[in-house]
C-alpha cells in the first residue's frame, strides 16, 4: 500500500489503512517516545495518545512535507505534553548530578549499540534529556524548544550543553565512543 493510499484510506476512516499506517510508523515512533519517557509504559502511553491524534488530525496534513515528519512532530509534541501533564519536569537537572551517575552494566543491556545509546540518553536527568532529544535528534531550534518547554532560549542552550557533556562522559565510560584527543580543550571551555 502506498503512502498516498494509506493517507486516503485514513481520511475515510478505513481501519485497514489505519492499521497499515500504524504498523509502518509505530516502531520508529515508539523509539522516539521511549527516549522521552521515564519507562516503556510511559512511552507506550505517549505513542497511543500520539497515534490517536494522528488519526483524528489526519485532515490537517497538507502534503507539503514528509508524511513521516508530520507524524513525528505530532508524536514529539505529544511526548512533551505528556511530560508536562504528568509533571515529570519537576526533577532536578543539576549538572553536578552527572558526576555521581553510576552506569551499571545491567541497566544498559548489551544487545545493540543503538539501544545502548538510547539507554545512555535515558540515564540523563529528564530536563537534559528532553532538550538533547529535541535539539540533537529531532532538529528543533533552541527558540522552538524554549517555546515548547516554557523556558528561556538561553536556558535551553545551557541545558543542552550540559546534557551533551554528561552524555559524552557516559558513552566514554561505557566504551561506546573513545575519548577524543580534542575533548580536553572542549570540555575545559564548557566548564569555564
Amino acid at each position: 500500500m502506498t503512502e498516498q493510499a494509506i493517507i486516503a484510506g485514513c481520511l475515510q476512516n478505513d481501519v485497514a489503512a489505519q492499521r497499515e499506517l500504524y504498523n509502518r510508523y509505530s516502531p520508529k515512533m515508539l523509539s522516539v517516545c521511549y527516549r522521552f519517557a521515564q519507562s516503556r509504559e510511559d512511552g507506550e502511553d505517549m505513542l497511543q495518545e500520539g497515534f490517536i491524534k494522528v488519526f483524528t488530525q489526519m485532515h490537517t496534513f497538507q502534503n507539503k512535507g514528509a508524511f513521516e515528519g508530520w507524524i513525528r512532530r505530532i508524536i514529539v509534541h505529544t511526548c512533551i505534553n505528556f511530560l508536562k501533564k504528568h509533571k515529570k519536569f519537576n526533577e532536578s537537572v543539576d549538572l553536578a548530578y552527572a558526576d555521581y551517575i553510576q552506569v551499571k552494566e545491567e541497566t544498559v543491556p548489551s544487545i545493540m549499540q543503538a539501544r545502548q545509546i538510547i539507554e545512555c540518553i535515558r540515564l540523563l536527568p529528564l530536563g537534559y534529556r528532553t532538550v538533547l532529544n529535541l535539539y540533537a535528534l529531532e532538529g528543533y531550534s533552541h527558540k522552538e524548544i524554549g517555546q515548547m518547554l516554557d523556558i528561556e532560549e538561553s536556558t535551553s542552550r545551557s541545558q543542552y550543553t550540559r546534557a551533551k557533556s554528561m552524555l559524552e562522559n557516559i558513552l566514554i565510560r561505557k566504551q561506546i565512543i573513545e575519548q577524543p584527543k580534542t575533548e580536553f580543550n572542549w570540555l575545559a571551555s564548557i566548564k569555564k
Partner: protein, 489 residues
C-alpha cells in the same frame, strides 16, 4: 569528539532504531478512533439467554399455584373474580350429573336417616345447588317460603350457583367434589349474608353424604388415582411437601466439541532481537505482526470429562473432576530441503542461539504441506456452578473453573525466530499450564438426571512454550458442552 560529530553520531545510530509496541496499544487506538469492536458472540449469548428464559417461563406454569391464588382472591371478593378464570375442561363435571347428585343424596339420606333433619321430604323442595362454570359465577338469590321446616324461618333467602343440567352426565360424584361444591356454595352464601340456619342445613347435607357413603364405593375411590378434576381444582395448601433428602453430592459426564484458536505475540522478540541482525537472525518481513506472517488455521478439538459436584447451597455447587482435552490447529507451510534454522532464546545471560534442522519452510518449498499442532492434555477443573434460574424442568446455570493442566504429547512445531522455518518444539514445550473455562448452560431435568447444553470457552494462561522462547503463544477453545449430572440419593 567535536560537538557536531557527537550530534551526527547520535543521529546516525538512533534515527533508525525501532521498538515494537504491544498489541494492546493498537487495540486501544482502534477502540478510541473507531469505537469498540462489536463482539458477535455477545449477541448470540444474549439471544440464547433470552430464549432460554422465555421457554423456561412458559413451561414452568404450576396450575395448583394458580388455583391457590384464584381461591384466595375469590374468598376475599367473590363478586370480582369470575370462576371461569379457573382452568377446567367441560368434562370435569361429567362424572356426576346434578340430578343424580340430588337423587343419590336424597336416597342416601332416606336410607340412612339424618338425625339433624326432622323432615326429609322437605329436601325435595330445597333449592338446587349447582354450578355453572361456563357463565359468570355471580351468586343469585332465590326467595321462597318454607313453612314445613320447623327449624327454618318462614322466609329464607338462599343463594346458589347454577350448573346447567345438560352439561353433566356422569353417575358418580366423589367426596372431594362434594366438598368443593359445598365450599363454593358456602362462599356464595356467606357473601349474600345468609342465615346461620341455612348454613347449618348445608352442613347437615354434607355430613349426611359422608356418613351414607357405601363402603364399596369408598374402597374403589381409594384405589383410584386422583382424577382430573382434583388435579385441576384441588386446594393445595401452601405448606411444602417433605421429600426425602438428597445427598449433597452429585456426579456427571460431559463432552465438548470445540474449535481451537491461538494468539501469537512477539513483542519480546522484537524488543530484544529486532534491531540486532548481527546477533540474531531476523527475517526480512520482521517489521510486520507475527500473526500476518504465519498461516494457521483453527481446528476441531474435544473435551471429555467426569465431574463431581458438591451442593454448597441451594444454587451454588462446588465442581471438580478430571478432564481430557485435545486441542489443535493447523499450520500451512512448505516441504523444503532440510535447512539449518535458528531459534533465539532469551535468558538472564542475554540471547542464545540454537541451531536446529528443519524440513519445513514458511515461505517457499517444493510442496505445500500442513502440520498439525495437536496437544493431548489432562486437567483438573476446580470451580463453581451457579444456578441462575431454577425451573421445574428447565433452568440456566453458569460455571467457571481454573484448570491445572498437564500436556501429555510431544509433537509440536514452533516458528523459528527468523520466522522462516518450523522446527520441532518439544524441548521448549511447557508441560504444566493453567487454563480457565467459563460457560453458561441450559439445563433440563429428566428424573434423577439433569442434562445441560451450552457454550463454553477455555483459555490458556501461560504460553505454550518456555519463557525463553520469545514468541508467545496462547491457546483458546470455544465449544458447545453437552453433559448430564446425577444427584446422589
Amino acid at each position: 569528539m567535536y560537538q557536531d560529530e557527537l550530534e551526527q553520531f547520535l543521529q546516525d545510530e538512533v534515527k533508525d532504531h525501532r521498538m515494537y509496541p504491544s498489541d494492546k496499544i493498537w487495540r486501544n487506538i482502534n477502540a478510541e478512533v473507531n469505537g469498540h469492536q462489536r463482539w458477535p458472540a455477545l449477541s448470540f449469548i444474549s439471544l440464547f439467554i433470552i430464549s432460554a428464559l422465555t421457554v423456561s417461563t412458559l413451561l414452568n406454569i404450576n396450575p395448583s399455584q394458580k388455583l391457590l391464588k384464584a381461591n384466595s382472591l375469590r374468598q376475599t371478593d367473590p363478586k370480582k373474580l369470575p370462576l371461569q378464570d379457573l382452568k377446567h375442561s367441560p368434562n370435569d363435571f361429567n362424572a356426576t350429573a346434578p340430578s343424580d347428585l340430588t337423587a343419590n343424596t336424597i336416597a342416601n339420606l332416606k336410607r340412612k336417616g339424618n338425625p339433624l333433619e326432622p323432615d326429609l321430604t322437605g329436601l325435595e323442595e330445597t333449592p338446587v345447588i349447582a354450578l355453572d362454570f361456563s357463565k359468570r359465577a355471580e351468586p343469585i338469590t332465590i326467595s321462597k317460603t318454607q313453612g314445613s321446616h320447623s327449624t327454618k324461618p318462614a322466609l329464607v333467602q338462599e343463594t346458589a350457583i347454577v350448573i346447567p343440567m345438560g352439561s353433566l352426565a356422569s353417575k358418580e360424584l366423589s367426596l372431594e367434589k362434594l366438598n368443593f361444591l359445598a365450599e363454593m356454595n358456602d362462599q356464595a352464601t356467606m357473601s349474600a349474608g345468609n342465615t346461620t340456619t341455612e348454613s347449618h342445613e348445608q352442613e347437615v347435607v354434607l355430613q349426611t353424604e359422608q356418613t351414607v357413603e357405601p363402603a364399596a364405593t369408598k374402597a374403589v375411590k381409594e384405589q383410584q388415582p386422583t382424577d382430573q378434576f382434583l388435579q385441576d381444582f384441588a386446594y393445595v395448601p401452601p405448606t411444602r411437601i417433605e421429600k426425602g433428602k438428597n445427598s449433597k453430592f452429585g456426579f456427571g459426564f460431559f463432552i465438548t466439541p470445540s474449535t481451537s484458536y491461538r494468539r501469537l505475540t512477539d513483542d519480546k522478540a522484537k524488543d530484544l532481537l529486532g534491531a540486532a541482525p548481527a546477533s540474531a537472525p531476523v527475517g526480512l518481513n520482521y517489521t510486520t505482526d507475527v500473526n500476518s506472517i504465519v498461516r494457521h488455521k483453527p481446528a476441531v478439538g474435544l473435551e471429555l470429562g467426569f465431574a463431581v459436584l458438591y451442593n454448597m447451597s441451594n444454587r451454588l455447587k462446588f465442581k471438580t473432576g478430571i478432564q481430557f482435552n485435545t486441542r489443535q490447529y493447523y499450520i500451512e507451510t512448505f516441504q523444503a530441503s532440510t535447512d539449518i534454522t535458528t531459534i533465539s532464546l532469551v535468558n538472564n545471560r542475554g540471547v542464545e542461539n540454537m541451531s536446529v534442522f528443519s524440513p519445513y519452510n514458511n515461505n517457499n518449498g517444493y510442496k505445500s504441506t500442513q502440520l498439525d499442532n495437536k496437544m493431548y492434555q489432562v486437567s483438573i477443573p476446580i470451580g463453581f456452578q451457579y444456578d441462575v434460574i431454577q425451573g421445574r424442568k428447565l433452568g440456566i446455570t453458569a460455571e467457571a473453573s481454573i484448570q491445572p493442566t498437564f500436556t501429555l504429547n510431544k509433537s509440536l512445531y514452533l516458528l523459528s525466530t527468523d520466522y522462516k522455518h518450523y522446527a520441532n518444539g518439544n524441548s521448549l514445550m511447557r508441560k504444566w499450564n493453567i487454563n480457565s473455562a467459563v460457560g453458561i448452560n441450559l439445563t433440563y431435568k429428566t428424573g434423577a438426571y439433569q442434562w445441560y447444553l451450552g457454550p463454553q470457552a477455555r483459555f490458556q494462561h501461560l504460553p505454550t512454550y518456555s519463557n525463553k522462547y520469545p514468541i508467545t503463544e496462547y491457546l483458546m477453545d470455544y465449544g458447545i458442552r453437552l453433559g448430564f449430572i446425577k444427584q446422589l440419593k
